[in-house]
Symmetry: C2
Subunit: 398 residues, 2 copies
């Protein structure tokens, strides 16, 4: 059979990170390439307790079909939390529970983009989202990231010049992969530009609760008087990614179509996981848990940055200090003798995996001298070993 594939999937490839994971699966390789929460960050005891209670008290509710929009008590709990804590969600908005925040990217793109329409993204940005946009044959337009967010001039120029721009995709807190947090001034500027050019904003905030230093910056969605912003949230980094529970808070006309798309995609999200998330938020000390997570990641990030100072910086590799999230963005020096891609390959040969920065670009063929390391998944021992090896390599080959 000569299989006929749709135009949209013909050029779609598994993410470059997945290729790297193949090496990372080798137990002798230290993987700094993942994005998994630290295993010690899971409240396993609480989840086991809740699960037992659910099967004692309401097993059929956990096993029967649910509503496409999501488990109503969880919808309300998340809505109240986001409303009270962050001012997210107005009277023209509604909420949908999704199978992870990844599904928000998918449903929103499906709802507003025709093939060939343009999505403006930070460059670099999260591969999973870029691939979701690509899977609807969207054109990606990357705006260079600076330490305080997108370059606003480049964003305005893109809004002026690009055709059929449907939305601006932004991870405003501790961005993946750059670690950058968009400043309050830039958040306001981006919202004003969206308003002026009448394009929507997809604000993806998976790491917002993982701030380890500095002051919280309000969400763009909290500015949204015009109904321009779709906010994507998730339990993946604060409870469990394996449960696949995320959500969108979005203007009703858009959200209603996302619900219809979700109906055709997976009917509804896993019912048990929604009930776990609901009870964990309302019957346990949710804020206390978030504090304990921040404590775990504060220590791990500080340890990682200390190692980078000790081993990588003397070898000529710089990095951008972070205030939260799970990733640190490292840079080869100007005039390095080998390319970043070559450096990452050499690292694998020396049994350390990092992610080459060009994997995160809208055009992977572009030059890039940065790579991403993750500090949440490895143990302290692995982190120390991996960064020490990278440091030795830097001294030898750069």
């Amino acid at each position: 059979m000569d299989y006929i594939l749709s135009e949209r999937v013909k050029t779609l490839k598994p993410s470059a990170i997945r290729e790297i994971f193949k090496y990372a699966a080798d137990p002798s390789v230290v993987s700094l390439s993942a994005g998994n929460p630290a295993p010690e960050a899971f409240p396993t005891k609480a989840i086991a307790e809740i699960s037992a209670k659910i099967f004692e008290e309401e097993p059929v509710a956990a096993l029967q079909y649910g509503l496409t929009e999501g488990y109503p008590p969880l919808k309300k709990a998340v809505w109240d939390f986001m409303q009270n804590k962050y001012g997210v969600g107005g009277e023209n908005d509604d909420i949908i529970i999704t199978s992870g925040a990844q599904q928000v990217m998918d449903l929103f793109t499906k709802t507003v983009c025709n093939e060939g329409d343009t999505v403006i993204c930070e460059a670099p940005s999260f591969i999973g989202s870029l691939n979701s946009f690509r899977s609807y044959n969207c054109r990606l337009c990357g705006i260079p990231m600076e330490k305080d967010g997108m370059n606003i001039e480049a964003l305005e120029k893109a809004l002026q010049q690009e055709k059929n721009v449907r939305f601006i995709y932004i991870i405003a807190n501790f961005q993946n992969p750059s670690g950058a947090t968009t400043s309050w001034e830039k958040r306001k500027a981006i919202y004003e530009l969206a308003k002026r050019y009448q394009v929507m904003i997809l604000e993806d905030n998976p790491y917002g609760e993982l701030r380890i230093s500095g002051e919280n910056v309000p969400c763009i969605k909290s500015l949204d008087t015009e109904g321009l912003v779709v906010y994507a949230g998730t339990f993946s980094k604060i409870l469990s990614p394996g449960m696949r529970v995320g959500y969108a808070i979005a203007p009703k006309p858009v959200l209603q179509k996302m619900v219809v798309c979700k109906q055709g995609e997976d009917v509804h999200s896993n019912q048990w996981a929604q009930m776990i998330a609901y009870r964990f938020m309302t019957e346990y000390d949710f804020e206390g848990h978030l504090n304990s997570l921040r404590e775990i990641y504060r220590k791990k990030a500080a340890f990682c940055m200390k190692l980078l100072d000790e081993y990588l910086v003397p070898g000529g590799i710089s990095y951008d200090p972070i205030e939260g999230g799970l990733f640190i963005w490292c840079h080869l020096p100007e005039g390095a003798r080998i390319s970043m891609n070559e450096f990452c390959k050499q690292a694998v040969l020396n049994k350390v995996c990092v992610v080459p920065g060009n994997a995160f670009l809208t055009n992977e063929a572009e030059q890039c001298s940065s790579f991403r390391i993750n500090f949440s998944t490895p143990t302290d021992e692995q982190l120390e070993k991996g960064i020490r090896i990278l440091g030795q390599l830097a001294k030898e080959v750069l």
Copy 2:
């Protein structure tokens, strides 16, 4: 904001059934309109036990990120089961675990259909799948259903005349909504036509294990020497729909693209649910459980058909006897004084919900004198009450 929606979602509506569910939510209304498994069909005790064991033995595996392709032990268990029991899955095939079989419809359509391509469906057919195809702007071409499956002449004519046919969608066992089972002769004829015209087949088999009488008919996929068939299976009707665990067994070149699409859609399916399904299949008496389900539905179906004979047939309404599944397809007599749609509205006013048959057509505006009733969700008392009311109504208005 003047929201710009994609062409594909502009005409997409929530399924007609959902509108009916609004009435069905009224506790004074007897709902014969759902498609939920009977609550007593859930092995709640076993699932509670397995869940407790998972949290005792391997909590992190249940909570951490998983693989897009699915939990490897479950993939193997399902593969072996389908291979050994039904001869499904050859050396050029592979398996992906999905978020319910609904996601198979979505991922496969996304992989092989450009907007405007044609999907050939049984008419009537399952609304959820039709809406999934519609959400990619596919053209639907309905082939009239007969008691033993699609009209083969009409199918061949469609294959000759329609442009860009990508696949034939078929529910061969106890079809939703017609209850019809495609005969072995027709299965072979459909496969031969697919081969001759080089189009694929999407074989959706949610009810296959729910045979209550007659002999099993082999799956079309078991004939698939040419790599033409994508087989969609699910745990929704045999374990739990709320868990959202389905799967596809499909030719590798197609399956690989479906995996990439799934990565962008929800990364992977709920990990806990996959582990539950795996342990239930391998550590419990899975075949014994399937037998007990068949026993439950055998009794319920027989009771329902007895009620139909007693109350509806005398009022002029006929039905197609079934050998399995969850639905019975009923027909208003020729020359009825009111339309089927009017009859269903009157039924709601009399506090009984059924699904008007035109909801299942590729063109909902077409004439249809049939409606669907479900016997798995209501209790025996509800079933008796509902069908008695329908019978009284039939006598009064037809």
